[in-house]
Symmetry: C2
């Protein structure tokens, strides 16, 4: 973990042995470091077929015919399907949002009549091995009449397809008298800002293996991730099955980031293949497919303007933006646009607000959520705006922010907006306080002086700040089931998902602390629909908050049951007992008769005939409910150096200060933040899915789509604070998965402006070296 | 099903649509008839190894050395283990009985120092395919010093092994003043009766596939049956794992009959193989192994005597018997001997009783339970005794029985004995009444007259009767979990087992009736330890009684929840509603707003935010508890013809009258009875595991071990009655799995006596043609 993290957290631990708050090692790691992990590609069944997708090579076109004869003639090819073969399967649905009218834009599992982006599945091949399937896929000949593609989201709306507009919806939210605010303004600051198309690119490409168990009439899909239950339920509908006859299994997942684990055409196709062909079907995406078929994200242009008073205080904001969705509305529907509209305002007091989010289709890969969706984009927009306001009124950027921050004593702060279907009520926060800590941690004045010296010496160095509010802990509910077996081993079954973030460890810590056991005795089962009826997977930084709180409730129930039984066994009262490391013993280390959770479980075994009055089993379910999200918040600070010759931006140092309410495992939060930062940096400086004018993707290899490597990573300082526990759950938890990503584009942009001494220079992410060189070249003229 | 079954049952159904009591078709059948079943042999995993057991070829000997070098040299052989390699694994335990002192007699998974029966595992080979494993096993050379075997159970006890007696225990039970009864007796009837060694021989031989999932640290064993949870728990102990890290999966099972699904050495060996070798391990028994390695049963000699008064009323019974266990005490411990001691008395009033059951080791395959264990044997003994009493006092066998039957008004009838750890309290029964119905059904007088005519015409024809009391519904508890999904499909998870008996259908019927759905919408998951914490499997005719009652309780809970929610949805009260075929509607077909269980489940979905006050999910657990067994009872009647030339006994007609309290599915009970009858007939006339004096088994093929085929099966009439519902559960259920087997030996013996007009001729089962010929030949002299 990074050098300084955890210090604040540890200071708050005084009493006794606490495992919540400790940076214990991950339960997830042993199989990973031993090479025993089971990713989708590791799942195999005897007699399995391999599936290969034939993808559209044009961005927009009308399918005239698809010739499968040559592919089918290949020995070992079992079946080739085109759109006609799956026409009865409904398109892939999206999760409920308040946005309506998206249904006609959902994607069929194989293209019907038209293709709409390069990479769209138009046919699928099933064969005895993966190589054969790939060879056969190349023999499927789709005759497509090429049509002109729509490549830009910000033109006037037009026809995307016959009868379908390029603009399915405009998301409008707002409150206050915006017109009056602008009319009364001392000044108006207006910016035109864009974020490029990039996305989560997990180390593990997507994969899925489906198997139909005819003996039990159960369809199984391995390689699930993120949303096993919702995906199971919706795919069951598509396939005409009851959810209880269809199960998804999440194994190891090599990174989720919002993109992995959504329902894609291939998931449904492997399931349908297994059902129809009565053999297991395996599919594994390659990297080229991953870069053009897995969800993209981010591409958005904002026309934003702020009405301000003479001191730089915001009176109102207008936010008009264009969201380049891609060729279909995917499983998230319009969530990114919805959150961009509902969450732009961040930590600032904004008396009046008006947003029009233009949700637009373009002939590119469909887009959806990616780590900090709608916030990475809008933090860039909002913080660019704050820097511009500071400049306009001639004050320091920190001062400009402080003048507009919502104060700690205003919490909870209800904003008359909604996001993800919940009312936006900032639950807790001390934004000013975190700014203080950030500046102290940075040694702000000394640092500014040092950079001034370096600039005087001819270096292009600069410092940028961004403040933001994240959101986490999406409800409405979560459940875990907890069982202690007769050896004292604890089993925790959750419908939450593990995409590598460490949720097994975090839930085990919470369980261990409440129950009084070693966290390493807790086995967490996740992402398997056969083991638990409901689940919400892993998204929206919700697992620690929602599943963690449910775990606490379940653990307390189990603890109460154990103490009640132990008291009877030991002829005492529950109040006299404590549970430490699985031992049930007299409180405070007093001597006397003791027992163990294992013994209590044996006492409660249904065969023991001793469980008088108690229902058998040392187990409980815990449900946690929440109608609101909670809102962690943070400050990013970037120190950059620009290479005057190449225009390349080098991030020298980076600080993330983040208040998570309560840190269950600071090391894991640190990991989340540093990893998230790397992804944010990619979008700020390197990563972009670009297209030519015909809609051909130009970023289909890692030579073209440039990710951040260790070499580009700066020295990172992470300051985790716990100043504002959430009032919405007993532990005060807030999620920590996205705070490392959120502010990177904004902070780096400000730092580059500063380094170049070119206020307002950065208006678009990623910041390309060529543009920097152009600026420097123009100065040299 | 047999011709006449079900008639009595159907008469009792009056009101409405009832699925309990109907002979609906089996849910189990579709995959079976389509060839899609999944037996142990159908389970395969990539990279699996095949295991082959090297078995002792001598009945008793000292292992001098085992040379594995030649086997290991074979390409593709991965490992060969001998006793030394598994010496750290504890021997296979047995389930609790009140009998103590059996521990030293438990079997290690590979022979240590000595071999004790032909077929005992002495080494095990793991190889790339099954053929190679078999070849390699033949190259393992065990050098064994042959020692004299113990082959008879009824000699004076001696030394079985150094320090271990041939008689681990003598089971003594009794009550009343037996000495006084015999002293006061008008007469004493004494018999020496034996039942031969035979057993359940399922169509499917045993098989198991184990896999260690290192990614989750979970060990899995497929091919489980009968007692998944207990086996899991005990094997976990042997392997040093927590139960929650080890799961057993029951697929289709080709017959259980008490022998399949116990823990055998091979089960533990495949698991250990998977753990140590880190590859899946598959093992499949062949028929020769099945006949010499799977549990035998039955072999028992009884020296029984009854003190009677002048009218043939029993004053007291002494029962001394010798149980030939085999070379080890297996998972059942001394259960067969214990039940033989505790349940011999059947339906008769016996004022004083004394039993000494000599549990003896012999150098044969270990024995354990087989369908109607301890009752098949003791019904033969008791009913032979009743026939002898009738003869002694010169009355009709029916009359002799009637004089001694416990009357219906004496129920419940507490007998001061215990069996399977429970007090023997006959819960309900009208034994006289069932005898009346049996005689009426047989048209007794007409039948006797007809047989007399045939005898006069020179035929050896006879009629024999046997009465018996079965036991069923062993407690102490059982649980099912019931869930209705959003499509209205019902999932029932039970820890009970399915060994082909139709339990899925029966539980679905009970669930369907209580809940108001089509039974075909109920999916039953059984025998999987990962899906439910506790379970009792399938044995002791307990599933319908215990799991069925738990199902009723769970279904009523779900129904109540559904009605409560539906009432809120429909703005009415639960009392006004009924559930028919998944529709929740105004009671009695009144019009008005209605809904469905699917809609209620949707209302209760945790994402719906409408479940105000209700915990999410349309689901419930049902626990049922019972401290006592219940006691179905029956009459068997056999009509036989003996071929004077060959001595072969041909069973012409057979009636089983059986009172099951409440018949859930008469067709399935009929199937249980007819199938059980076939097995009872095997033991009565054909099947026997014989050995030569050196302990070599002589019945290791189906040419030598002669099973009943369709050809030998008589015309069977089944009379299912419901005159004596059990007071121990709300539906009045009693189990029906063993009543078809119980009385066969006894009834056939009586019929053969009658056919040969040789009272008391049959003293041993099976009745061999050779002995009949000897009798007829001796008459001809």
């Amino acid at each position: 973990m990074s050098a300084h993290a955890e210090s604040e957290v540890r200071q708050q631990r005084a009493e006794g042995v606490q495992v919540v708050g400790q940076s214990v090692t991950r339960l997830e790691d042993p199989p990973l470091v031993r090479g025993e992990a089971c990713f989708a590609g590791d799942v195999n069944f005897p007699r399995q077929l391999h599936m290969r997708v034939v993808r559209s090579q044009v961005a927009h076109g009308r399918i005239l015919s698809i010739d499968t004869a040559e592919a089918l003639a290949l020995k070992g090819v079992t079946s080739v399907w085109t759109g006609a073969d799956v026409a009865s399967i409904p398109p892939i649905p999206f999760r409920a949002t308040k946005v309506t009218g998206l249904e006609p834009y959902c994607q069929p599992i194989l293209a019907q009549e038209r293709v709409r982006y390069v990479g769209e599945p138009v046919a699928v091949v099933f064969a005895e091995d993966a190589y054969l399937a790939e060879d056969a896929a190349e023999l499927v000949l789709a005759d497509i009449e090429v049509l002109p593609p729509v490549m830009f989201a910000d033109a006037e709306p037009g026809e995307f397809l016959p009868g379908l507009s390029t603009e399915p919806t405009v998301i409008r939210k707002g409150y206050g008298d915006v017109a009056a605010a602008f009319a009364a303004a001392h000044d108006v600051v207006a910016l035109d800002l864009s974020v490029g198309r990039h996305s989560g690119v997990p180390l593990e490409c997507r994969g899925a293996v489906a198997r139909y168990d005819a003996a039990r009439d159960v369809l199984e899909m391995y390689g699930a991730a993120k949303k096993s239950h919702w995906n199971r339920d919706e795919m069951a509908k598509m396939l005409g099955r009851s959810p209880s006859s269809f199960h998804l299994y999440e194994g190891h997942v090599g990174g989720g980031f919002g993109v992995r684990g959504e329902i894609y055409p291939e998931d449904v196709l492997v399931c349908l293949g297994a059902l129809r062909l009565r053999r297991p079907v395996k599919w594994q995406e390659d990297r080229r497919e991953n870069l053009m078929a897995t969800n993209h994200s981010r591409e958005q242009r904002h026309l934003v303007e702020a009405a301000i008073d003479a001191d730089g205080r915001i009176l109102g904001i207008r936010n008009k933006f264009f969201h380049a969705q891609g060729a279909y509305s995917r499983t998230h529907g319009a969530r990114v646009a919805d959150m961009s509209a509902g969450l732009l305002l961040g930590p600032y007091r904004v008396p009046a607000y008006e947003v029009a989010g233009h949700f637009r289709l373009v002939n590119k890969t469909p887009a959806a959520t990616y780590r900090s969706p709608g916030r990475y984009e809008t933090t860039f927009v909002r913080e660019r705006l704050m820097d511009a306001i500071a400049r306009r009124v001639g004050i320091d950027p920190v001062q400009a922010r402080r003048r507009n921050l919502i104060r700690a004593d205003e919490m909870p702060y209800a904003r008359p907006l909604d996001a993800l279907g919940t009312d936006v009520v900032l639950d807790s926060g001390d934004y000013d306080g975190l700014m203080d800590k950030t500046l102290a941690r940075l040694d702000w004045d000394r640092l500014q002086a040092e950079l001034a010296r370096r600039r005087a010496a001819g270096e292009y160095v600069g410092l940028g700040l961004a403040m933001f509010v994240e959101k986490s802990g999406l409800g409405p509910s979560d459940m875990v089931r907890l069982t202690v077996d007769v050896t004292g081993a604890v089993e925790l079954v959750t419908g939450a998902g593990s995409v590598g973030q460490g949720m097994e460890t975090v839930l085990a810590q919470i369980c261990a602390q409440e129950l009084g056991v070693d966290y390493r005795r807790v086995r967490v089962h996740h992402g398997r629909t056969d083991l638990i009826e409901f689940g919400n997977g892993a998204h929206a930084s919700r697992v620690t908050v929602m599943s963690g709180s449910a775990t606490q409730i379940a653990a307390r129930k189990v603890r109460a049951k154990a103490l009640g039984v132990a008291a009877r066994m030991l002829d005492t009262t529950p109040d006299e007992l404590e549970i430490v490391d699985g031992q049930v013993r007299p409180r405070g280390g007093a001597g006397g008769p003791a027992t163990t959770l294992a013994d209590v479980a044996r006492y409660l075994h249904p065969s023991s005939r001793t469980s008088d009055g108690h229902e058998p089993g040392l187990s409980a379910e815990g449900w946690f409910y929440s109608d609101h999200m909670n809102y962690p918040y943070g400050v990013h600070a970037a120190q950059v150096r620009v290479d005057g010759a190449t225009g390349q931006v080098v991030v020298e140092k980076y600080l993330v200060a983040y208040d998570v309410g309560r840190a269950v495992n600071p090391m894991l939060i640190d990991g989340q933040i540093v990893g998230g930062l790397a992804q944010g940096l990619g979008g700020a400086l390197f990563e972009e899915f670009t297209y030519d004018e015909a809609g051909q993707p130009l970023s289909t290899t890692f030579a073209d789509y440039v990710m951040v490597s260790a070499h580009e990573m700066p020295d990172v300082d992470v300051l985790i604070t716990e100043d504002a526990p959430s009032p919405l759950n007993p532990m005060g938890l807030k999620g920590a998965g996205e705070g490392g990503t959120n502010g990177v584009g904004a902070a780096v942009a400000a730092a580059v402006d500063d380094a170049l001494q070119a206020p307002g220079f950065v208006t678009r992410l990623p910041i390309k070296a060529m543009r920097v060189r152009q600026l420097l070249a123009s100065r040299a003229l």
